[in-house]
Each structure stands twice: as C-alpha cells, then as structure tokens.
C-alpha cells in the first residue's frame, strides 16, 4: 500500500493540468513547504496548525506514520512530506480521480472535480458546568458536591485551617484622554406630495416584482452592482463633455423625442398661420400685434373675390403636376394629393403626399409609386386606406397610418391605359370601381382587410377580386362618377361626348344615354345635396346641368372657349359650383346669375391649373396647379346671407321645365332665402 502511495505521489508531483483556455490549473499542494534547516527541531504540529496557518510552515509528524516518513526520507530531492492520514487519503482520492480520467499528457479539456466532506473538526469545546440529572455520571457529581459541602463545613473548627486576612492592592488610576470626531448631521426635509406618495408606492411594487425575478441569480446581480459602482466612479472622474454628447445622441434618437419635435413643429406652424386658419374655418381672427392687419370692409356689397390663404408645397413636390386631390372621409383635416412624376406622357414615378391642416409646411406622409398618379380616393369604411389609380393602369391601396411606404397589395400590370377610380359604398360593403381608358369598368371587391406589416415585408392578405362589370368598348371612357348610394346608378362620360347611365346591378347594357357634348367629357359630378342632379363638363368649354331622368340638359353654362378640366359642386351650398379651366378658376353661383360666373380667378402666367377641390364646412377651395402647389383660397364676399342646405325633392325641379334661361332662379329652389 505504501508503495502505491509513493508512486502516486510521484505522479502527482509531475502532473500538470490545463483547463479549456490553456491556463495551468495544476492543483497546488495543500501544505506549503519551505526550505528550513531547522526542520528537525520543530515539534509535531497539530492538524489545526496545518489548516489554519497561512504562509510557509513546516509540517512534521512523528507519530503514526514513521514508516511512511522513513520511506519518504529516501527521496533526496524533496523534503519529506508527511501528512496526517485523513488529508492524505483525500488527496490520494483526488489524484486517482485525475489519473483515471485523463491521459498523462495535458489536455485542453475541462474536468470535473469532486469535492467531499472531511470529518467534523471541532474548534472550541467548552463543556458546561451543569450536568443533567439523567446523566450517567450524575451520581458521581452529586457525591462530589456532597463531599465538598462537608469539607467546607468541617473547615470552621478544625486545626488544619486558620483565618487570615489579606489586602488587595488597588492599582493607581491614570487618566487618559482621547478625542473623536463629532457625528455630522444633516437636516433634510421634503414635502410628501400626493404624487410623490403615489410614485413611491407604484415603484415599490415594481421593485418587488423585479427583485423576485432577480433572486434566482444573485451572483450575477452582485457582480453587476460592482460593475455599476466602478462605472459611476469612472464617470465622475471622466470627461463631462463626452458624456453630454452621448446624452444628446440618446435623446435625439428616442421615439418620444421625435414625437415631441413633430408636435412642436405643428404648434409653431399653427402660431404662424393662425390668422389664415381662422379665416379658413370661418373663425374670428385674433386681433392685436400678433396678427396681420386685416382690412375692414364695412359691409356693403363687394365683388366676390378669392383670397389666397396658404399654399401646400414642399421641396419634394415642386414642379410636379397635380392630378387629383381628395379629403379623408373620417378626418376632414387630412388631404391626399396625387402628383405626376416628371412630364406627363412619360410614365415616371409619381408621388402621393398626405397633408394635414395642422402642419401647413411639411407633408405628413410621402409615398412614391412607380408611375404617375391619375386619381385617388380615401375609403370610408377604412378611413386610413387610400386607393390610387396610376397612369400605367395599376391600382394600389396604401395604408396611410404606417410611415413605411410600401404597397400593401400586389399591383397588377394590365394592359389598360388610363385609370380613374372611385370608391363607393354599396350594401354596406365597400366596392372599388375603376374605369380605364380602354373602356373597361371593373368592380373590385375588397375581400380581406389585413394590413399587418411584419418587419419590412407587408403581408399581402389584402386582395381585390376583379369582377368585370361592363364590357362596352364603344369608346374610351374617361370618367366615372360617384354613385347615388342608394340606387347604385352611375354615369360614365366617354371620349366621344356621350354619357351613359348604368347600374351596378345590371352589367350588360346601358340604361340611358345623354348626348349633348360634341367633345370628350372630362368630368361628371353629382350634386351632394340634390340626389338626382349632376353636372358635366367637357372639352368644348361648356358645363351642362342634367337631371337623371331627362335626356336633355336642364341648363348649360358657357363662359370661355377653353377646356374645362373639372367641375365640382360646393358641399356647403346647393347652388354653387366651381369649374377649372386651364388658366382660370370660375365659381358660379346660380342664385346670383346663370349667365356669368360669379367669380373668375386667373392663374399666374405660366402656370396651368389642373385640379380643384372644395373644403367641406368652410367656404374655401383648393386649387392644384402644374407647379406642384396646392393653394387654398377663401371665397370672400361671396354670399350675403347664410347658406342653407335644402332638402332636395324632385318636385322642386318640375319648375325647371319651362324656364332654362329665366333669371328667376330663387323660385326654383324652395325654402331658400335670398337677400
């Protein structure tokens, strides 16, 4: 056995162990051995000395392991290592484990160390002076106690003992003074406000939750605390400028800051444009130094004018022709404008901008599309969906809530040329109808309404199913008009000047045809107030007023020989409509005159006006032009008297039959005041 021990011990001395990083983790011997020539003179050290003495100490034993020591004495190169049996056995066990698991040469693998308990080591043993009655040697103790009391009592009168007094020497007192620092105290007061209490309470709740989650790995948390304290120390001594820089970057990149900045921009812009916006809304303009001086008109009849309020323009849109504008159905402050990219004729990437009345200098959203935009409309069932038709025949739907400008549905490449589309409600479901230049009218059913944008790739769950409606290829169809919502009838204008009345339910043939215009019809608009009256405009410079069931126009309006690009009814007043010619805007008020336009506004030289829109609830019009600007004009001095919405009924139009040119307009419209 001893021989084995010797061999093992030799192996231990030459073995080297490396861990996974290649560091030398050879277990060091339990006892440090020093070279001491007086080693022989040292007494045997106890086990306690070995374990608790730090530093170099010689350990020798002379009792049990004499034979071992004699053996070890043979080794001349090493000092004798003599160990108590228990420690020795532990080390041996450890070494055997090492050897059994690994080859002689060092490996770059980790290994398991198994630690086991030693025997109990008692450090202090103070036996009590009390012994229980039930102890084994209780009788002996009792006997001893009795002997002692007898001895004490016998001491008094016996000759073996005599009394003697002695004096204890009392040492001299010495005064020693010492001084301590006073305890510094700082007064601190706070007012416990309501929110302070609320905050502390909610924070302690949070802390409790976080503390529970951290309890599992308290080792890591203590390490973190140490790191944090080191970091704070370095920060105090570090450079304050660099800290400010990183602080600034952190602030600038936070989401909340972006929001604050955009709100701030709106507030500033609203401050600047307050008079204009107040005029737009028909509110009283703030007087005083902060407002522009407003010329006070004294209430006599003045010629109606268009007063320009502001312009929606941004560097992105400059130079792009505007083709279409539309208001949002749910939030009437949001305007979507479609732009043509580059010069018309070449299909270039177009642009859509969403402007908000809260920020007049910068558009809220900008979307680019691959082709020029010809028409767009917001959906009323999903107010954030914007459907656009493009010059190359594609139809797309954008979700304007998201800032990422991506198509939310696949865009079809079809062989159509020009597109115009309209969203309409029918039987509570919304359908999208698009009309193209090659005569096809397509009704799209909206199947799914899923607009989730997963990461950067939108899910294309939104599908439109095409259902062919009307297959007349007689001529190019140029415009389709908004429907009577309850009857599902719509009117299309064609290239050759005739207009057809069709029905959504009947897709085979036209119901009626209205022929009056010799040249292409450019726009048809239903009156928003009278449900069976519509206006049509065409390239021959005339505007015709029609009633649905009569095939001849009721009235016709001509002012100048120029292509009428568009005509729109005013949503506020039943007798006002505006028409846009290439270089002028005309506003007609039928209660003032049916022969002449009430108001004519010329465009600036070199600028072509291309698009027109009324603003609901405010008597302003928006005019888009070829420079990429949308100018908002207020109709000033236009109506003396409150505009009143009249309930349209067909009986009021029976009076029209005979008098198309009469100037007695007021009697045509019942219930309508004229000053």
């Amino acid at each position: 056995q001893l021989h084995i021990y010797k061999c093992v011990w030799l192996c231990v001395l030459s073995l080297q162990v490396f861990d996974s990083q290649g560091r030398d983790v050879t277990p060091l011997p339990l006892v440090a051995v020093a070279d001491d020539p007086d080693s022989k003179t040292h007494e045997k050290s106890s086990l306690e000395e070995v374990l608790f003495k730090k530093g170099s100490s010689i350990f020798k034993s002379s009792t049990t392991t004499d034979v071992v020591s004699s053996r070890y004495g043979d080794i001349q190169t090493h000092k004798p290592y003599v160990l108590c049996p228990s420690i020795f056995l532990e080390i041996i066990r450890f070494v055997l484990l090492l050897l059994s698991e690994f080859p002689r040469k060092p490996v770059d693998k980790g290994f398991d160390i198994i630690l086991s308990e030693t025997d109990t080591i008692s450090l202090l043993d103070l036996p009590p002076t009390l012994v229980s009655e039930d102890a084994e040697d209780a009788d002996a103790v009792k006997q001893r106690n009795r002997d002692y009391t007898e001895f004490c009592s016998s001491k008094m009168g016996s000759d073996n003992f005599f009394e003697r007094s002695s004096q204890t020497l009392v040492g001299e007192h010495k005064c020693k003074y010492t001084q301590t620092d006073t305890n510094k105290s700082v007064n601190k007061g706070t007012i416990a406000t309501t929110w302070d209490i609320y905050d502390s309470f909610s924070m302690s709740n949070e802390n409790r939750e976080t503390r529970e989650s951290e309890r599992v790995d308290y080792l890591t948390s203590t390490r973190n605390k140490q790191d944090i304290s080191e970091v704070t120390m370095s920060r105090e001594t570090g450079n304050s400028f660099s800290e400010n820089q990183s602080n600034l970057e952190k602030i600038l990149s936070s989401e909340a800051f972006m929001k604050s900045v955009s709100i701030m921009e709106r507030v500033i812009v609203l401050n600047i444009f307050q008079p204009k916006l107040a005029a737009f809304r028909g509110l009283h303009v703030l007087k005083g130094k902060l407002s522009q001086p407003v010329c006070r008109c004294k209430g006599h009849y003045l010629t109606p004018t268009l007063e320009p309020l502001w312009t929606f323009v941004s560097p992105l849109t400059r130079g792009h022709n505007i083709t279409c504008m539309t208001w949002n159905k749910k939030n009437p402050d949001i305007l979507a404008v479609g732009y043509v990219g580059g010069s018309s004729g070449n299909p270039q990437p177009g642009l859509i901008c969403c402007w908000s009345l809260k920020n007049l200098v910068w558009s809220e959203r900008v979307f680019s599309c691959h082709s020029s935009v010809t028409c767009l409309e917001f959906s009323s069932s999903n107010p954030s969906h914007l459907a656009i038709g493009m010059y190359d025949g594609a139809v797309a739907i954008y979700n304007v809530q998201q800032r990422c400008n991506r198509h939310t549905q696949p865009v079809w490449q079809v062989t159509w040329t020009k597109q115009q589309l309209q969203l309409s409600g029918e039987e509570r479901e919304e359908v999208l109808v698009s009309v193209s230049g090659d005569g096809r009218i397509t009704k799209w059913l909206i199947l799914h309404n899923d607009f989730n944008c997963v990461g950067n790739k939108p899910q294309t769950d939104y599908r439109l199913k095409a259902r062919e409606c009307n297959l007349y290829y007689l001529s190019f169809v140029l415009s389709v008009q908004s429907f009577c919502y309850d009857t599902g009838i719509y009117v299309i204008g064609t290239w050759d000047g005739s207009m057809h009345k069709c029905s959504l339910s009947n897709s085979d043939h036209f119901l009626d045809t209205y022929c009056k215009h010799p040249s292409p019809v450019t726009h048809i608009e239903w009156s928003p107030i009278y449900s069976d009256v519509f206006l049509s405009s065409s390239s021959d410079g005339t505007i015709q007023l029609w009633k649905v069931d009569t095939l001849n126009p009721k009235m016709s309006f001509t002012s100048v020989q120029s292509i009428v690009d568009s005509v729109k009814w005013s949503p506020n007043c039943g007798t006002v409509f505006a028409a846009i010619y290439r270089h002028r805007v005309e506003v007609w008020d039928l209660c003032q005159s049916i022969m002449r336009p009430t108001l004519v506004h010329h465009a600036e030289p070199g600028v072509t006006l291309s698009s027109l829109l009324f603003a609901k609830g405010s008597d302003s019009i928006l005019v888009g032009d070829s420079r990429g600007e949308v100018t908002v004009y207020k109709l000033k001095n236009f109506r003396v008297g409150k505009p009143k919405k009249v309930n349209g009924s067909s009986s009021t139009f029976d009076l029209w039959q005979g008098s198309t040119k009469s100037a007695q307009i007021p009697c045509f419209f019942t219930g309508w005041k004229r000053v």
Partner: protein, 103 residues
Amino acid sequence: MSFRRKKGAEVEETLKRIQSQKGVQGIIIVNSEGIPVKSTLDNQSTVQYSALIHQLVMKARSTLRDIDPQNDLTFLRVRSKKNEIMIAPDKDYFLIVIQNPSA
C-alpha cells in the same frame, strides 16, 4: 440600423425646419438633470432659460399631479407680450422653443 439612422436624420431635418420657421428665436434641448445639451442661443441665455424653465416645469407638473397622480404634463405654452415659449417635457429631456410669431 439603417432604420434608426433614418429616424435620426428625420429628427435633425425637423429641427432644422423648426429653426427656419418664421419668428423662431431659439431651440434648447435640456437633459433630465437640467443641463442644456443643445442650444441655438448664446450660452448665458441658454443657461438662464434652462434653469428657470426647469423650475417652472417642475412646479407645473407637481401641480397637475397633486390633483390627479395618474395625470402628467405633456405640453406647456407660456405666451407673453413679446413672444411665446413652448415646452415639451418628458422624463429624459425638455424641448424648449421660443417664438415670436409676429416678427
């Protein structure tokens, strides 16, 4: 990463636009300790504005939250004879803009 850079560029652009609006006299961004980190005014005004406005915002916030601790201040506008100071406070920063809209 590019998305973050785009956001940062958007913020910078918006700040530039605000700076170029009519009547804007200065923009100050103050961190949560009351130290101005970015400013378009001179140093003395910046320090003065940030210290005073910090106190004002603290007082305003304390007032609001005393009435209802779940409420918090989102925007503060102080209109004076000569100009208007607009403050957007948050727990990490204050954004202060001084504007004189009639100038």
